[in-house]
C-alpha cells in the first residue's frame, strides 16, 4: 500500500515536472521564433499591465529582462537550426530527384540500337571476306562507339565537346561505310572549343536522330553538318541535315526528351535545345549552353 502511494506521488511529481519543462520549452521555442516586433509589443503589454494591480512592476521588468536575454541567446541558434533542417530536407529531395533522373538517364543511354549493331556486325562480316583492312577499320570504329555509349564502359573525361565529336566521328564513319554515297558529313568545330564541357551523349543523340529520321528514309540520302561556335561565352552546337524533315505528329521521342532533361539537370534555364525546320528543308537542332572549359580533361 505504502509503495503504491509513493509511486503515485512520484508519478505526480514527474508529470508536473514534465509539464513544466514542456511549458518552458514551448516558451523558449516561442521566444526563439517570435519576430522582434511582436516581442516588443508583448513588452509594452507587460509594462501596461504593470501599471495595474495584476502584475507587479518588478515582475514585468524581470520578464522583459529575462526574455530579452533568452531571445539573444536562443534566437540565433534556433533560427540556424530551422534553416539547417529545411536545407537538409531540400538537399535530400534534390539528391533523390537527381539520383532518379541519373538512373533514368543511364537506362536510356544503355540503349545502343540493336538494328544499328546487327547491321554493322553484318557489314564487318562481309568486309572480312572482301576487304579485310576496311573490316578492321570499321571494327575499330565500332569499338570506339560502344566504349563511349555503353555506360559501364564510359571512361572519364568523356564530358568534353572534343571527346563527343570524336565518338560521333566513329559513328558517322560506320554509317558512311553502310550508306556509301548516300551520306556526306561535314564537321566544323574550332579546336579552341574542343575542351568545352558538354553533356555526354547529347550530340550523339541529335546525330542519330538526323540519320535515322531524316536521311535513312530519304531515297537519295543527303548530308549532315555539325557546327560549333561561341558567342558571349555561350557555346552553340548545331546538327543540321537535309533529310525528309520533321513529322509533327511523332512524339518527342526518348532521345530528345533525354537531351532536354539532361540540359535542365545540368544547367537549369541557362541551356536550351531548339529544333528548327530551315526553309531549304531538313531539320536543324541547336544546343546552347554556358561555355566552360574542362580543365581536368585529358588532351585528345
Amino acid at each position: 500500500m505504502m509503495g503504491g502511494r509513493t509511486r503515485n506521488a512520484l508519478n505526480f511529481v514527474r508529470e508536473v515536472g514534465e509539464t513544466a519543462s514542456s511549458l518552458w520549452w514551448n516558451f523558449f521555442d516561442w521566444l526563439a521564433q517570435v519576430p522582434m516586433r511582436q516581442l516588443v509589443v508583448t513588452w509594452v503589454l507587460a509594462l501596461l499591465l504593470a501599471t495595474t494591480p495584476i502584475i507587479h512592476p518588478k515582475q514585468a521588468g524581470f520578464f522583459i529582462f529575462v526574455s530579452l536575454g533568452l531571445k539573444i541567446l536562443a534566437g540565433g541558434k534556433r533560427k540556424a537550426e530551422i534553416e539547417a533542417r529545411k536545407a537538409s530536407a531540400q538537399a535530400g529531395t534534390e539528391t533523390l530527384e537527381r539520383r532518379l533522373v541519373e538512373a533514368q538517364m543511364a537506362a536510356l543511354q544503355a540503349q545502343v540500337e540493336p538494328h544499328f549493331l546487327f547491321n554493322t556486325l553484318a557489314l564487318i562480316g562481309q568486309l572480312i571476306e572482301t576487304d579485310p583492312p576496311e573490316a578492321a577499320k570499321i571494327h575499330t570504329h565500332l569499338i570506339e562507339y560502344l566504349r563511349s555509349t555503353l555506360p559501364q564502359m564510359r571512361s572519364r573525361g568523356n564530358g568534353t565537346l572534343g571527346r563527343q565529336i570524336q565518338m560521333s566521328r566513329s559513328y558517322l564513319a560506320i554509317m558512311q561505310a553502310r550508306m556509301k554515297s548516300r551520306l556526306s558529313v561535314s564537321i566544323d568545330v574550332p579546336p579552341e572549343l574542343e575542351s568545352a564541357t558538354f553533356p555526354g551523349m547529347t550530340l550523339q543523340i541529335l546525330i542519330e536522330n538526323s540519320i535515322k529520321h531524316g536521311l535513312e528514309p530519304k531515297i537519295e540520302g543527303g548530308r549532315i553538318d555539325i557546327r560549333a561556335s561561341m558567342d558571349n561565352n555561350v557555346l552553340q552546337v548545331e546538327v543540321q541535315d537535309d533529310g525528309v524533315g520533321f513529322n509533327m505528329y511523332s512524339g518527342d521521342g526518348v532521345g530528345l526528351t533525354n537531351v532536354r532533361e539532361r540540359l535542365k539537370l545540368m544547367y537549369g534555364t541557362r541551356a536550351s535545345l531548339a529544333i528548327e525546320t530551315p526553309l531549304e528543308g531538313g531539320c536543324r537542332a541547336i544546343i546552347r549552353l554556358p561555355f566552360a572549359p574542362d580543365i581536368f580533361a585529358k588532351p585528345l
Partner: protein, 254 residues
C-alpha cells in the same frame, strides 16, 4: 546435280549487303541470274515490273518503301525472300507465317536451304502471302488509331522553330493569332484554337474556355475569384486563366 536456272532481283539500300548476297548466291546457286539490283523499295517494284523475275530478295528496312510494303505491291507475281539484320516483330511473324526470310550476315548453310525450297517451287504459282503481309504491316508499323499533334511550328526570325507540346503551358486566342506560352516565353502562331483543339491530344490539353487551351499537367491550382468564376493558374506563370461556365465540370471536386 545441276540446278534449274532462274532470274532474281536483289533489293537492299546498303551496297555492301547487296554485294555479299550476290556473292553467296553465286556460290550456292550458280545458275541463278541476278538481273537487277535495287537500292530502295520503289526501285525494286519498278525493276520487278521491267524484268519479271522469278524471285525477289527484299531487305525489310529500305527508304521509300519498306521491303514488306514492296512485297505487297508485287501481288504474288514472284517468290519473295525477306532479308533482315534485326527486326524482332518481323522475325516472329516470319516464323509463324511460312514466309521465307534470311538473316544478315547471310550464312551459306541457311541460304542453301532457302534456295532448295525456292527451286522446288519454281514452276509453281507463288504462295498468296497478302494476308500475312498486311498483318505484318500492322504489327511492325504499330500505329495507334489516332495520331495527335506533338509539335507546334512557329516562325522565329528567319526559320521555323519546332516546339514540343511538352514545353507548352497554354494556348490563348489573341485576335487573328494564337499565343503559345512556353517556359521560355511566348510566340504567336496562325493556327486557330479550334484547329489546335481538334489536333491535340484531348488528354494532354483541356479547353477551359472558348479562347484558352491549357496543358493539364501544368495546372498548379484552381481558385474562385470574388465573382465566383473559376480561375486556373499554371506553373511558372503569373497569368490567370478563366474557366468558362460551360467547362467548370472539368474541375469538379472528386
Amino acid at each position: 546435280m545441276t540446278q534449274p536456272s532462274a532470274n532474281a532481283i536483289i533489293a537492299d539500300d546498303e551496297e555492301p549487303m547487296r554485294d555479299m548476297l550476290r556473292k553467296r548466291l553465286s556460290e550456292v546457286w550458280p545458275e541463278l541470274n541476278i538481273v537487277a539490283e535495287a537500292a530502295n523499295g520503289i526501285e525494286a517494284i519498278a525493276l520487278a515490273g521491267k524484268h519479271q523475275p522469278d524471285i525477289v530478295f527484299l531487305d525489310i528496312r529500305m527508304p521509300g518503301l519498306s521491303g514488306i510494303e514492296a512485297a505487297r505491291m508485287l501481288f504474288n507475281r514472284c517468290h519473295v525472300v525477306f532479308i533482315t539484320a534485326y527486326d524482332q516483330y518481323a522475325i516472329e511473324a516470319f516464323e509463324q507465317g511460312a514466309l521465307d526470310y534470311l538473316l544478315k550476315p547471310v550464312n551459306a548453310e541457311r541460304l542453301k536451304v532457302a534456295c532448295t525450297r525456292l527451286q522446288a517451287r519454281l514452276g509453281k504459282q507463288p504462295d498468296n502471302i497478302e494476308r500475312q503481309l498486311s498483318q505484318l504491316i500492322r504489327q511492325t508499323t504499330g500505329k495507334p488509331e489516332r495520331e495527335y499533334l506533338h509539335w507546334i511550328q512557329a516562325q522565329v526570325g528567319n526559320s521555323l522553330r519546332m516546339i514540343s507540346t511538352r514545353e507548352i503551358l497554354f494556348f490563348r486566342a489573341d485576335e487573328k493569332y494564337t499565343r503559345v506560352q512556353t517556359l521560355q516565353g511566348e510566340v504567336l502562331i496562325r493556327k486557330t484554337l479550334k484547329e489546335l483543339a481538334e489536333e491535340l491530344d484531348p488528354n494532354e490539353f483541356w479547353r477551359i474556355h472558348r479562347s484558352t487551351l491549357v496543358r493539364v499537367d501544368a495546372i498548379a491550382e484552381v481558385t474562385r475569384d470574388l465573382r465566383g468564376r473559376q480561375m486556373v493558374r499554371v506553373r511558372n506563370s503569373q497569368e490567370e486563366l478563366e474557366v468558362s461556365r460551360g467547362n467548370t465540370h472539368l474541375f469538379q471536386q472528386m
